[in-house]
């Protein structure tokens, strides 16, 4: 049985995530559609991730116990792909939450764009940027 290579799955998943980010950038124009897209894409990526882990985790070398173990995990292409898909899925999920929260609290979308760009490129850096912005503008950190 032929299965897709890690390389081909990588080339499929990155544009898929990018589509979600483009949608989020345009959030104010069609918020309901954008939220649907930006939640559906992480779910599709999560299915891919779950499949990869179900197939490859048992044979994978390394683990979560030490930094060296984690590095060893990422030396195996299918596991590294799973890790990458994990980033894509969760970063986009956080991006969708940022756009949703900003809209609910009346934070101008132009302020949000740099936070979304940061989250897209550097995940947690975007989250902390939005947390700081939100605390400043809405006076809130917690839900």
């Amino acid at each position: 049985m032929s299965v897709p290579t890690p390389e081909s799955l990588f080339q499929l998943s990155s544009p898929l995530a990018l589509l979600g980010w483009l949608a989020l950038a345009l959030n104010p124009f069609a918020p309901r559609l954008v939220q649907g897209v930006a939640m559906a894409i992480p779910l599709v990526l999560s299915l891919l991730y779950s499949g990869l882990i179900l197939v490859h985790w048992a044979q994978a070398e390394g683990g979560f116990g030490s930094l060296a173990d984690v590095q060893r995990l990422f030396t195996q292409a299918p596991v590294a792909l799973a890790g990458w898909v994990h980033y894509l899925a969760f970063d986009l999920f956080v991006g969708a939450w940022i756009a949703r929260t900003a809209q609910a609290e009346g934070i101008n979308h132009l302020f949000i764009l740099p936070c979304l760009a940061l989250t897209f490129l550097f995940g947690p850096a975007g989250l902390i940027a939005f947390a700081i912005l939100r605390l400043t503008l809405s006076g809130k950190v917690l839900p």
Partner: protein, 273 residues
């Protein structure tokens, strides 16, 4: 997400929600069916072979089979006596049955992830102990058919034609009575094959051998008594009233005989077809 598209998404589910006494069984049906999605993803990404078959085929088959089983029980649950379904004992029993179903699937899915067998795996004391416990779980989850069959048998207020009610009760009871010895024989033999396949030729979808005896065929028949006999009961309603109940008994006996024949045929090493 807004309320409107969500409501559209859940509409097919709300159709089932009108089924009386079935909410827990239906919830687990949906859960098991949806949990097959990541397994389907794994199936499309995996090249591993276990027991001459793609490793995730067995989990997919068990998710489908147990979802069909639960959906059938959920459908029949409307004809249970009211005093049963509101009792604390029924809730506890249903909880035990549903837990057994979940444990069975975790075992089968987990073994596939590890690339080892689930059933017939006695390669270590731990796997052997799990196999034994899962045998008990399998009998427990199948006992739900027996218990529901007895409940529907004894319910004087189903509002069903007598022959149809009898066929549903008999079908459910036969599922337990036929499945346990057939599946038990297979479990103790540590193989579903009777004989050693050479070419590995199998029937499509089912995967049953076309060369040697395969106990999965009588297991399939035995377990589907809960569909076959009620369908015969439905057909029997077209007969004159005095013939209906004897026809249901005859159909139940005939189906049991068919299952027994398939069982003996498999035990003698002959393929299902």
């Amino acid at each position: 997400m807004t309320a409107a598209p969500l409501a559209q998404l859940t509409m097919p589910l709300s159709l089932f929600r009108t089924w009386p006494n079935a909410s827990a069984l239906l919830a687990l049906t949906v859960l098991i069916a949806l949990a097959a999605l990541p397994i389907l993803a794994a199936h499309l990404l995996d090249t591993r072979i276990v027991s001459d078959e793609a490793v995730w085929l067995k989990p997919l088959k068990f998710h489908a089979a147990l979802a069909i089983y639960l959906l059938t029980l959920a459908y029949f649950a409307r004809w249970l006596p009211d005093t049963w379904v509101t009792s604390r004992g029924w809730s506890i029993y249903l909880g035990v049955v549903m837990t057994c179903i979940v444990l069975e699937l975790i075992w089968i899915d987990g073994a596939a992830a590890l690339g080892v067998r689930s059933h017939f795996n006695i390669t270590s004391p731990l796997w052997n102990a799990i196999y034994g416990a899962m045998g008990i779980a399998a009998v427990t989850l199948t006992s739900a058919a027996l218990v529901m069959g007895i409940g529907i048998w004894r319910n004087a207020a189903t509002g069903l034609p007598a022959a149809l009610q009898l066929s549903i009760a008999l079908g459910l009871i036969l599922t337990f009575v036929l499945t346990v010895p057939v599946a038990g024989t297979m479990a103790n033999a540590l193989s579903h094959h009777v004989g050693t396949p050479i070419t590995g030729a199998t029937l499509p979808i089912m995967g049953w051998s076309r060369e040697v005896g395969d106990l999965r065929a009588p297991h399939f028949l035995a377990t589907h008594a809960l569909h076959a006999v009620p369908l015969a009961g439905l057909a029997a309603l077209a007969l004159p009233a005095s013939w209906q109940t004897p026809a249901v008994w005859a159909a139940a006996a005939g189906f049991a005989a068919l299952t027994l024949w398939a069982f003996l045929r498999a035990m003698s090493g002959l393929p299902p077809l």
